[in-house]
């Protein structure tokens, strides 16, 4: 793995906003996110609804077009020896005014932005960056057979241009995602397949373009428990077989844990913790963000079940990212605020500080935050 070439995908200070008419305010879905995905690794983003995990991925794929949308930041894609900023020049179409580091107003030429974004994404979306989504059945074309859709992707994005070789290739991919009798399934319509099969077909389609980056947005959500674990198995197998770089998004910690090399925990539009999966989720880890700790504690453990004790719930509600507090975004729900740091927590947003090599935490509890 060519890790020295720099990350395959580097997101730098990304801000993606939406506008709520009812509240007449911005929804700061992604509010200054920086992430890197190295070649061959799987980065898992975990977070609750509204944490901005999906919007981060959609922004990277150039799929956020409505409203203010992506207003600032850089997304560098480093593949096939070239490096390009997927947001290059887009700042010319969106202007925003800031006050105390907060965006107060956005002026955007939506049409121009979209047009320019499409030029930037041409040859990237679908080819370099492929996506699989939560609901496979709605992502597949209901009026076309699985095979036809696969062949279309293959002929468009790879060197298998002939009808017959594309079909062979399509069947090859159906085999690789372990679909039984791929020759027969080739002619099936999406409604003839079960949810798990559709997800497999979706994965085949994404991988058949031979992308550099796979974005998997909640790939198991909405499937049955037993099918979920089969899809996770498949993704794990494909990861070893193809070594594909993956940006995995899920609210399910167990899925993230099984598939990720590194993890980013998101809360309220920011990354609050990032590091190697084993370190962030280690059962005995002492240094972690209070939110990560609380999230892990709210899942019933064997011990909780044995003693039939209460779950350690996180008080309060998930941050809505409309009224973003001045200080730490988790302050209102945090149970580890001490008097020594209270003032900081309430008033100043902590930086994402490195507490150990490669392990960063956005919290005033760690002295590194003061130095950063």
């Amino acid at each position: 793995m060519a890790l020295d070439a720099g990350p395959l995908l580097a997101i730098d200070n990304l801000r993606t906003y939406f506008y709520s008419r009812a509240k007449r305010a911005f929804i700061r879905s992604v509010d200054g996110v920086s992430l890197g995905v190295a070649h061959g690794e799987t980065l898992g983003i975990v977070g609750e609804s509204g944490s901005g995990k999906s919007v981060t991925a959609l922004s990277a794929a150039g799929l956020v077009t409505a409203g203010p949308g992506v207003i600032s930041g850089r997304i560098d894609l480093h593949s096939n020896g070239t490096r390009r900023n997927l947001l290059e020049g887009l700042e010319n179409y969106a202007r925003f005014t800031e006050q105390d580091g907060r965006v107060m107003a956005v002026e955007k030429d939506e049409r121009g932005w979209r047009k320019h974004s499409d030029t930037l994404m041409a040859g990237v979306r679908g080819k370099e960056i492929a996506m699989i989504f939560q609901n496979p059945r709605s992502a597949l074309n209901p009026y076309s057979t699985i095979g036809k859709q696969l062949v279309e992707t293959i002929r468009l994005h790879t060197n298998f241009k002939g009808e017959r070789e594309a079909k062979e290739r399509a069947i090859h991919w159906l085999e690789r995602v372990r679909i039984d009798s791929p020759g027969l399934r080739f002619d099936n319509f999406p409604f003839g397949l079960s949810g798990g099969m559709c997800q497999r077909a979706m994965i085949a389609m994404a991988l058949s373009a031979e992308p550099s980056l796979l974005i998997a947005d909640e790939p198991t959500t909405g499937l049955d428990a037993t099918i979920q674990s089969r899809i996770v198995d498949l993704l794990a197998q494909l990861k070893t077989e193809t070594g594909i770089t993956t940006l995995l998004i899920s609210h399910d910690i167990s899925v993230i844990q099984r598939l990720s090399d590194r993890i980013a925990v998101m809360y309220g539009g920011t990354v609050v913790e990032t590091g190697r999966a084993a370190e962030v989720l280690a059962p005995q880890a002492t240094a972690r963000h209070p939110y990560t700790a609380a999230l892990l504690a709210s899942i019933p453990s064997a011990e909780t079940i044995r003693r039939k004790s209460y779950l350690q719930a996180i008080e309060g509600e998930v941050l809505d990212t409309i009224e973003v507090p001045r200080g730490c975004r988790f302050y209102g729900r945090c149970n580890r605020v001490t008097d020594a740091i209270r003032e900081n927590c309430a008033g100043i947003e902590p930086p994402l500080a490195e507490i150990a090599p490669g392990h960063k935490v956005r919290c005033w509890l760690y002295p590194a935050a003061g130095k950063a």
């Binding site: 609804s49 039984d180 099969m197 509600e317």
Partner: protein
């Protein structure tokens, strides 16, 4: 030992599916047995968990035992009264004693009503209390579900998922039920909120002496809240017993598969808990199944790891010998020839 509040015997619910011209003309269609001969009982103040994959009939059971849908056959006895054939009018006074929490957070929350009126409506369905009493009861309900009084003026659309769930629970509690069927009460919520709701439901049970039929696919939560767990597969209960036995010493291969599918998503302690050795081997060879054409004999046989390991014994696919639930000790029942 506390008394039995709900007893279900050989419950069946068929849905007929009419497709195409011929079945339209002849009036005959395919019959899909969503619930296919299920028996169980609930004791007062206990929780029975009902688990299984989607389409196995869990929700249908929940709806049928409350007579929200009519059973095709079988017997439902609630608190000593046979409610299987009761008319709507006869059922009405009983309705307040048995309630349902729906998976959908918006179910039962009229989008045009403020929370205060939603609760007021629930309080006045079965009785006619005075205004002062209503105000008192609303305060009490808010306290029971830990909801701020300021939320009373809100419309459902202005509430978060967790708050909607709390209002939904308050609405159910308004009629002072004894039995609550909770159908996936946490699955539409965020993880951090799920824990709050699970704790709330357990508190309410303790304080109000409620009985729950807890339907969920979230196995750790089911194991945590339930005394007994019933595992369903294609309309039948295949195993039932104490929660800890179902989770740790499953006898039916399907139960093992279900719990291990949870475990092998993770690499933590849960993996080590699964003792069923056959489960590991099964994962390679698992096929897809068809609800509409269950196999003859044991309906799990086509997916069963044990069936393959035993060299496909004929008894498993013999149409004349579908395995029946039998007691394997301590009230633990299993429907498998080899358990």
């Amino acid at each position: 030992m506390s008394r039995t509040i709900l007893e279900v015997t050989d419950l069946r619910k068929d849905y007929s599916q009419r497709r195409g011209l011929i079945s339209m003309l002849t009036g005959q269609g395919r019959v899909i047995p969503a619930v296919d001969g299920v028996s169980f009982y609930l004791r007062e103040n206990e929780t029975v968990g009902l688990v299984g994959e989607s389409g196995c009939g869990k929700t249908t059971i929940g709806r049928t035992v409350l007579r929200l849908t009519d059973p095709s056959s079988g017997r439902i006895v609630f608190d000593g009264r046979d409610i299987t054939k009761m008319s709507r009018a006869e059922l009405r006074p009983l309705r307040r004693e048995m309630q349902m929490i729906f998976q959908d957070l918006d179910a039962g929350l009229n989008p045009r009503m403020r929370v205060r009126n939603i609760l007021r409506e629930a309080l006045t369905v079965h009785e006619r209390p005075g205004d002062a009493e209503i105000a008192g009861r609303i305060r009490e309900l808010l306290e029971q579900v830990s909801l701020k009084e300021s939320k009373l003026a809100n419309f459902p659309s202005e509430l978060s998922g967790g708050e909607k769930r709390r209002v939904g629970i308050a609405r159910v509690l308004a009629v002072r039920p004894r039995l609550i069927v909770a159908d996936e009460p946490t699955s539409a919520l965020d993880i951090s909120i799920q824990a709050q709701v699970v704790n709330l439901l357990r508190d309410l049970q303790k304080n109000l002496g409620l009985t729950y039929l807890f339907i969920s696919h979230d196995l750790p939560v089911v194991e945590l809240v339930s005394q007994k767990v019933a595992v369903m597969y294609l309309g039948r209960i295949v195993e039932m017993g104490l929660a800890e036995n179902i989770a740790h010493q499953p006898r039916h291969p399907y139960t093992g598969v279900l719990w291990s599918s949870l475990a092998d998503k993770q690499t933590t302690e849960v993996t080590r808990r699964v003792t069923n050795v056959t489960v590991e081997r099964e994962r390679r060879t698992w096929g897809v199944f068809d609800f509409e054409q269950p196999a003859s004999g044991c309906r799990f046989a086509p997916r069963c790891p044990l069936y393959k390991d035993k060299g496909r014994p004929a008894v498993c696919t013999d149409p004349a010998s579908e395995p029946q639930l039998r007691d394997v000790g301590h009230g633990h029942v299993v429907a498998c020839h080899f358990a």
